[in-house]
């Protein structure tokens, strides 16, 4: 077997100094304790740790131990490793000098065994091993300054010789009031917060500089496909934007009591017409047929040479699955439980839709469904990118589809968040959203595949983040916590500043609650320099599980062609924010980075960033 040297990643970091605790570069605790002893106890209490041994430790051990707690918390799957496969490689300049001095004072009176044991620097590694049952190699090196090159070489060697599978390494220095801890978790598997294990990254984190992700492989958007109320493909949708033609109108296809009462954004085909276009039987779910049309457009658009020899995935989102057919089953079944065509409930569940679309595309390598409410298809794209980044796939068709159903229309109606008129996202007088339907997919490819394309890719997917609002099942928090964290995290992943964003494709549903929370989050992150923003839901309605995919397509086009889309029907700026959405279609703009927001029920918030190549 070849001796493979696997990559190593910094999967978590913790830096403690100047009365502040940083986790992965973000300050998670700070106070103004008068001295280090009090500060360490404050940290212990803040993180609500219950470990009585803590109070017996000397300050060096307390510091290192707390840093390891913060480092590992929510970031380490301990069960993945055997105890003897986890090790610790620490270093500092002054060994245990702080306790040496205290011990010497005790010698004048009665030598203290409990102080003496801490006059060895490696006791802190023992403390961390005891706490976590780590039984691998532990070592303590003394160097004048943090030596990232030595740490990288030494730890890499241990991994490459299979002597360790996970390592906590770094620097723990404490003498009197001078202290600094910088610990790094090194593993072979990357995660969405990880960076390559290099001396440059170690030094960046040690110095509390922002972590650039230069070593992360780029993900390219090679193809796009969309169907929505404003067009049956990308070109038709662009024409609608340019002519500012909304797709929202009276219900024409769906059988519902809300006809002539609630406006929706329907795809302008009957099921029979869709069946003819897709070659599928007419009794298949409308969700599937919409998905097939958009996903095929995307794959054809990408025109990837030698696709059959690549590892291809299909990650598709939806929220209703085959609900339209289940509704057709339900009417006769309700009247007589011996009636109803069982064929109609066969594709009820969300995954069934994905599989049916994948069959039409001929994708077999990796297929899965994501259903996280209105952020579903943004999460599909997020997940697809990670599968490529981790080297598991070469190509991923990612996005989502949803058809209008009675189920969703009635459900949103009972939540009282539907506007009886055409929606007005980000307007002070907005009344709610209009539901829409459609499908949108992007074809994500690795850098290697991107180099083989005949046409230039549209853009790169440079940033993504999913964060939870942790506030309410169906309402956003007043200060938009989840939205803020998602946007901020995506910027960090892309190694961008807010000022780098050229345009935000807002989630912008038009409900008072969403737009207020999202606007507040934008204000928190971007104030005072706001990029142009708009909600394309003023054209397409809210297509739920498809919206992140559809808007990813619009975002990719915006980056490639320099477009900014109008936000229809905007009149009055919202009171709580100092910015207004764009109201005119603009082209030829310098668009370097587009942020696309998708926020869903359950507090599930995702931001994607598409960047110029």
């Amino acid at each position: 077997m070849p001796d493979l040297i696997s990559k190593k990643y910094i999967t978590s970091s913790c830096v403690i100094n100047h009365n502040t605790v940083y986790k992965n570069g973000i300050s998670v605790f700070a106070d103004n304790s008068p001295d280090v002893a009090n500060f360490l106890i404050s940290v212990y209490k803040h993180f609500d740790i219950n470990y009585s041994r803590f109070y017996k430790m000397d300050n060096l051990s307390k510091l290192g131990w707390l840093a390891s707690e913060v480092l590992l918390k929510d970031s380490f799957a301990k069960d993945r490793y055997k105890p003897e496969d986890v090790g610790l490689i620490f270093s500092n300049a002054n060994a245990s000098l702080d306790t040496d001095l205290k011990y010497l004072v005790s010698v004048e009176d009665i030598a203290s065994p409990s102080l003496f044991v801490y006059t060895l620097p490696n006791i802190v590694t023992g403390e961390i091993c005891i706490r976590n049952n780590f039984k691998g190699e532990d070592a303590f090196f003394i160097c004048e300054h943090f030596n990232a090159e030595f740490i990288e070489n030494y730890v890499s060697n241990l991994f490459d010789n299979n002597l360790m599978q996970a390592c906590i390494c770094g620097w723990i220095e404490l003498t009197g009031e001078d202290y600094k801890a910088a610990l790094f978790l090194i593993e072979k598997n990357e995660n969405d917060k990880s960076v390559s294990f290099t001396k440059e990254q170690l030094n960046m984190i040690f110095d509390n500089k922002e972590m650039p992700l230069t070593n992360s492989p780029d993900i390219y958007v090679a193809g796009i496909g969309v169907i929505s109320a404003i067009g049956n493909n990308a070109a038709e949708c662009l024409t609608a934007f340019e002519s500012e033609n909304s797709g929202i109108g009276d219900i024409t296809h769906m059988q519902t009591i809300h006809r002539n009462n609630l406006p929706v954004a329907e795809v302008k085909f009957t099921n029979d017409e869709l069946a003819e276009m897709t070659g599928l039987p007419a009794d298949i779910s409308r969700t599937t047929m919409l998905g097939v049309l958009a996903a095929k457009e995307a794959l054809n658009d990408a025109a990837i040479p030698g696709l059959a020899s690549l590892r291809v995935g299909f990650i598709s989102a939806n929220t209703v699955g085959g609900m339209d057919k289940s509704e057709a089953f339900f009417v006769p079944f309700l009247a007589d439980n011996k009636k109803g065509k069982l064929r109609n409930v066969f594709d009820h569940e969300c995954g069934s839709v994905t599989e049916a679309i994948a069959d039409q595309l001929g994708i077999k390598d990796y297929i899965t469904t994501i259903s996280t409410a209105c952020s579903s298809s943004a999460n599909s794209i997020f997940y697809g990118a990670r599968l490529i980044k981790n080297g598991l796939l070469d190509v991923v068709v990612a996005g989502g589809a949803d058809a209008l159903t009675k189920f969703t229309l009635n459900g949103f109606n009972t939540l009282m968040i539907l506007d009886k008129d055409f929606c007005r996202p980000f307007d002070e007088n907005r009344q709610g959203l209009n539901l829409g339907e459609g499908a949108g997919y992007v074809v994500l490819v690795s850098e290697k595949v991107a180099q083989t394309l005949k046409n230039d890719p549209y853009c790169k997917l440079s940033g993504y983040n999913n964060s939870n609002d942790a506030y309410h099942q169906t309402a956003s928090s007043p200060d938009g916590t989840g939205s803020y964290l998602a946007m901020k995290g995506a910027l960090k992943k892309a190694n961008l500043q807010p000022s780098n964003i050229s345009y935000i494709n807002l989630h912008g549903t038009g409900t008072p609650n969403n737009d207020s929370a999202e606007g507040t989050a934008v204000k928190r992150l971007f104030d005072p320099h706001y990029p142009p923003v708009s909600s394309t839901k003023s054209f397409t309605g809210h297509t739920l599980g498809a919206s992140g995919g559809i808007e990813a397509v619009f975002s990719a086009l915006a980056v490639k062609h320099g477009f900014i889309y109008p936000n229809l029907r905007f009149e009055t700026r919202m009171n709580e924010v100092p910015f207004s959405p764009e109201t005119k279609f603009q082209k030829g703009k310098q668009i370097d980075h587009v942020m696309s927001n998708s926020f869903g029920f359950g507090g599930n918030c995702t931001s994607l960033i598409f960047s110029k190549i």
């Binding site: 065994p113 060895l120 003394i142």
Partner: protein, 375 residues
């Protein structure tokens, strides 16, 4: 993976200034451990292996700790054909407390803080010999010496260096003795490793140097074949209850050396002569299936030389391989561990020796093992 040879070594101890002097003292049953009277170290008399006070110059820019290391490294280098000024050589220094004695006699200041840092000593010594690469300093309790050998082995195996000078030393001062006394860990007589009546350790002073190389010279065909470190995850000052973790380090070492327990000709144990260390070690040796292999502890000759111990005892083991002589355990009479092991009580020179294993354990729950082979 590149072979790692031991091309030169030195032991600088109260028993002698060269490896040869030390080994002949051990063969003759000589011990450095005696009753000592030194009011600077303790009010009462105590047993330890110490240098005479006249051995070191007060006028030198180097402290006693550094003078010890310089003497040991100088002698080792003189026999090695290795040039410290080469680009592909580095100094590894192992010590637990280095210049801690300076804290006892000087008031604390910023300058003193810098002077007593182990890195300062290492830099001064590296400068003395003209090493161009920054030295590596290990302070990992009582396994520091073995860890120096293991680290050196890996740095050669990875191709980063061609030669490594591993040196270790510790000096016994009031700080260290009072600490072990506060633990009730000091024997009132010469220590008795693995013995039924053992009652604690003796401390000892010394320095030792081992020069590792990717190239074989003419000094005797010894290779470092494996080395590993583990942690008990049990207690910061008491050893494992089972010995499983030391056994794991032994197992990993044997695996790297591509050896099984039956290939080992003798074990140089840590054998500090505390109740708990020796008990744990005996369990580990049994878990590793080495209970019938002759084992010794050299603490009765040297006392516990802390950061130097692993190096001194490794070098004696290497000398044993070269001369086909296993040194007996001075102070041992009757087995006093619950899982018996084969303690060498007499000088054994009846068979050819090829492979040996050296182990150590220390505060913080650390364990280490290293294997040497004669070709």
């Amino acid at each position: 993976m590149a072979a790692v040879y031991v091309v030169a070594d030195n032991i600088f101890s109260p028993l002698g200034k060269t490896t040869a002097e030390n080994f002949s003292q051990l063969k003759a049953g000589g011990s450095g451990v005696k009753e000592q009277t030194d009011p600077q170290i303790a009010d009462q008399r105590f047993y330890a292996s110490l240098f005479s006070k006249t051995s070191f110059s007060d006028k030198s820019a180097h402290t006693k700790f550094e003078q010890l290391l310089i003497a040991s490294i100088e002698e080792a280098l003189s026999n090695s054909g290795v040039n410290p000024r080469d680009k592909k050589i580095v100094l590894i220094l192992s010590s637990t407390k280095g210049n801690i004695g300076l804290l006892e006699t000087n008031s604390f200041s910023v300058d003193l803080k810098k002077r007593i840092a182990l890195n300062t000593s290492a830099t001064l010594i590296a400068e003395y010999f003209g090493f161009v690469n920054s030295p590596i300093v290990i302070s990992n309790a009582c396994i520091s010496g073995i860890m120096g050998v293991t680290t050196g082995m890996r740095l050669i195996q990875s191709g980063q260096y061609e030669n490594i000078v591993v040196a270790g030393a510790d000096v016994i001062t009031k700080f260290i003795l009072s600490g072990f006394q506060s633990f009730q860990a000091i024997s009132q007589t010469r220590c008795k490793p693995f013995d039924i009546d053992r009652d604690g350790i003796n401390l000892g002073e010394g320095a030792a140097t081992m020069i590792l190389s990717s190239k074989l010279n003419n000094s005797g065909n010894i290779q470092v074949t494996g080395g590993a470190v583990s942690n008990d995850a049990n207690h910061i000052s008491a050893p494992s209850r089972t010995g499983a973790e030391l056994a794991h380090a032994i197992e990993s070492t044997l695996q790297q050396a591509n050896l099984s327990a039956t290939d080992i000709d003798f074990v140089s144990a840590h054998g500090t002569a505390t109740i708990y260390n020796d008990e744990m070690e005996a369990k580990a040796i049994n878990l590793s299936n080495l209970q019938n292999v002759p084992s010794n502890s050299l603490k009765g000759y040297y006392g516990h030389t802390l950061g130097a111990a692993g190096l001194i005892e490794s070098i004696i083991s290497i000398q044993s391989l070269k001369e086909n002589i296993i040194i007996p355990t001075l102070g041992f009479k009757a087995i006093g561990v619950s899982t018996p092991i084969n303690i060498a009580t007499e000088l054994i020179s009846s068979k050819k020796l090829t492979n040996c294993l050296k182990t150590a354990s220390g505060f913080g729950g650390c364990n280490a093992a290293v294997a040497f082979r004669k070709y």
